[in-house]
């Protein structure tokens, strides 16, 4: 008995140590990435970097002002398309998930979640850029919405499913019709979770480069026109990073840090909102 117990303890400690070591291994690239971006990017940050437009090589100064505005604009436009479709699909999947059609939709959403985002960029290119014969912010926004919809639908479904069936019953038993119950009890209870899912989708959209490369392209100037090319942080980082100029490389690091901060803050906000939500349920 004693021997068996001690061998179990040894195995237990070994397994725990192994898991801990794997966590450390997983953390190394993550932390080194963070360190690299912060250490290389923080030097180039200044107020001007946030509010100025890019300048040609050799000139001092220059910033990512249009890119920040462009990222917000295109993600905002993508939200207008993606939020109603994604949330609506998620609610449908949660309420009628057993139907064959719903199962097909869920399968498609899962497949689309796994499609490389550059493929979605090609789709937007074929759908909008080719017929319009120009790169445009609109095409970029459509590509981003294609990236955002599938995960949004799936996470909305999960949050709606988390609403206890007993609440639906309580409402029905009070003589509230089914459609009002879905809207005012089920959706309202899941609202915090859906808002979190939306924030995470926004963060995802803001961090995408590939769907924008040949849809929105890039723009060195201030532009808010949806039918014209538009700058974005991710594409600007890409362009600067592959350029041969040292000063652009430095600006790419700083822009990467700005993007990291934006996406990080969005994620943090979403998780804080979710934590409050779960805390309130207890």
């Amino acid at each position: 008995m004693g021997r068996r117990l001690s061998s179990r303890l040894v195995v237990n400690h070994l397994a725990t140590a192994l898991c801990g070591a794997m966590v450390l291994v997983a953390l190394i690239p993550l932390l080194s990435l963070l360190w690299l971006v912060v250490s290389k990017g923080v030097g180039g940050l200044s107020l001007g970097f946030f509010i100025h437009r890019p300048v040609p090589v050799g000139e001092a100064g220059g910033g990512v002002g249009p890119a920040i505005v462009g990222t917000f604009t295109m993600v905002g436009m993508a939200c207008v398309v993606a939020l109603p479709i994604g949330v609506g699909t998620g609610v449908y999947l949660a309420e009628h998930g057993a139907r064959p059609f719903a199962r097909g939709v869920r399968f498609l959403a899962e497949v689309l979640s796994g499609v490389p985002s550059i493929v979605l960029g090609v789709v937007a290119y074929a759908m909008l850029v080719v017929p319009m014969k120009r790169f445009s912010a609109l095409a970029g926004a459509v590509a981003l919405s294609l990236v955002m919809i599938p995960p949004l639908a799936r996470s909305t479904e999960e949050f709606v499913r988390l609403v206890p069936p007993s609440l639906r019953e309580a409402s029905l038993a009070l003589g509230v019709p089914a459609w009002r119950t879905s809207l005012k009890v089920v959706l309202r209870t899941a609202l915090g979770g859906i808002a979190t899912a939306a924030l995470l989708a926004v963060a995802r959209g803001a961090g995408e480069t590939a769907p924008l490369l040949f849809t929105a392209l890039n723009n060195q100037y201030w532009s808010l026109r949806p039918d014209q090319p538009m700058a974005s942080l991710t594409v600007q980082i890409y362009n600067y990073a592959i350029s041969p100029y040292e000063s652009w490389h430095e600006q790419a690091w700083s822009a990467a840090l700005v993007l990291l901060l934006l996406v990080g803050l969005l994620n943090l906000g979403a998780r804080l909102a979710l934590r409050d939500r779960v805390g309130g349920r207890r």
């Binding site: 007993s166 609440l167 009070l174 509230v176 309130g280």
Partner: protein
């Protein structure tokens, strides 16, 4: 029936030849029962005997389950409820569930008024209604200073009384209770039982319970269900002291169940 209450009572809810299915499974077999007005009717029986199915037929919640259906007549004050819109019926026949299920996104006050608010019906005398329902549910003194608080800050027993207040606020005629105290501790249970005793002055109450002491303490009449059949029904004292059926006697004396 030799109970004094039984002689005087008029029938509020008459169940005639009720059958209920889950898919192909017949869960309730030809049940007929007359439920007298302003009384407490206890439904007892072992797990799976159909007692919860029975009570969920009375406000037609049973037929909401996929594949479930019912047959028979449910007559309340001479009107067949199987022929009216179930949404209308549920405003006349309220229900309290096994586990407290207040709406977590609404305040305590809004939970009481949920039956009106969720239906988009304006409430002119909101404060009066809230106080009346909470007083009826014996919860007013404990929550009157925090009506705007979340119901999740209440204890389980308080939440269950809030659910009772919520059911009472729509002014139903019949109140169904599906093991309303089974998730509660003994003190909260005894408060609910006292409450049931008070509520029968105004309401007709049908309560499902697996606790025979509770049936004995709270009810005027008792019906014993077994394997989807109504075995025996009558005054509670008669069912417990001199049952006509052997199966009833075996169950109430604890030989099985």
């Amino acid at each position: 029936m030799n109970d004094a209450g039984a002689r005087n009572a008029r029938t509020k809810l008459n169940v005639e030849h009720l059958q209920a299915w889950y898919g192909n499974h017949l869960a309730l077999k030809d049940v007929s029962l007359a439920i007298p007005e302003r009384s407490v009717y206890a439904i007892i029986g072992p797990s799976g005997c159909g007692k919860s199915t029975f009570i969920r037929c009375l406000n037609r919640m049973h037929e909401l389950l996929p594949g479930a259906r019912t047959e028979g007549r449910l007559v309340i004050d001479g009107e067949d409820l199987m022929k009216v819109n179930p949404v209308q019926l549920r405003r006349r026949v309220g229900m309290v569930f096994q586990r407290p299920n207040p709406f977590p996104t609404m305040s305590i006050a809004d939970n009481v008024l949920a039956g009106m608010k969720l239906n988009g019906v304006g409430v002119d005398d909101a404060e009066v209604r809230i106080e009346k329902a909470l007083v009826q549910a014996a919860l007013w003194d404990e929550v009157k200073d925090r009506l705007g608080a979340s119901p999740m800050s209440l204890s389980g027993g308080q939440q269950q009384r809030l659910c009772i207040a919520r059911a009472l606020a729509v002014e139903p005629e019949v109140l169904l209770m599906d093991e309303p105290a089974s998730a509660l501790d003994p003190i909260a249970t005894s408060r609910i039982e006292d409450l049931i005793h008070d509520l029968k002055q105004d309401y007709t109450i049908v309560i499902v319970t697996h606790n025979m002491q509770q049936a004995g303490r709270t009810s005027d009449f008792t019906a014993f269900f077994y394997l989807g059949e109504l075995v025996e029904a009558g005054a509670t004292a008669q069912i417990f002291e001199s049952p006509r059926e052997q199966r009833t006697e075996d169950y109430v004396t604890g030989k099985f169940g």
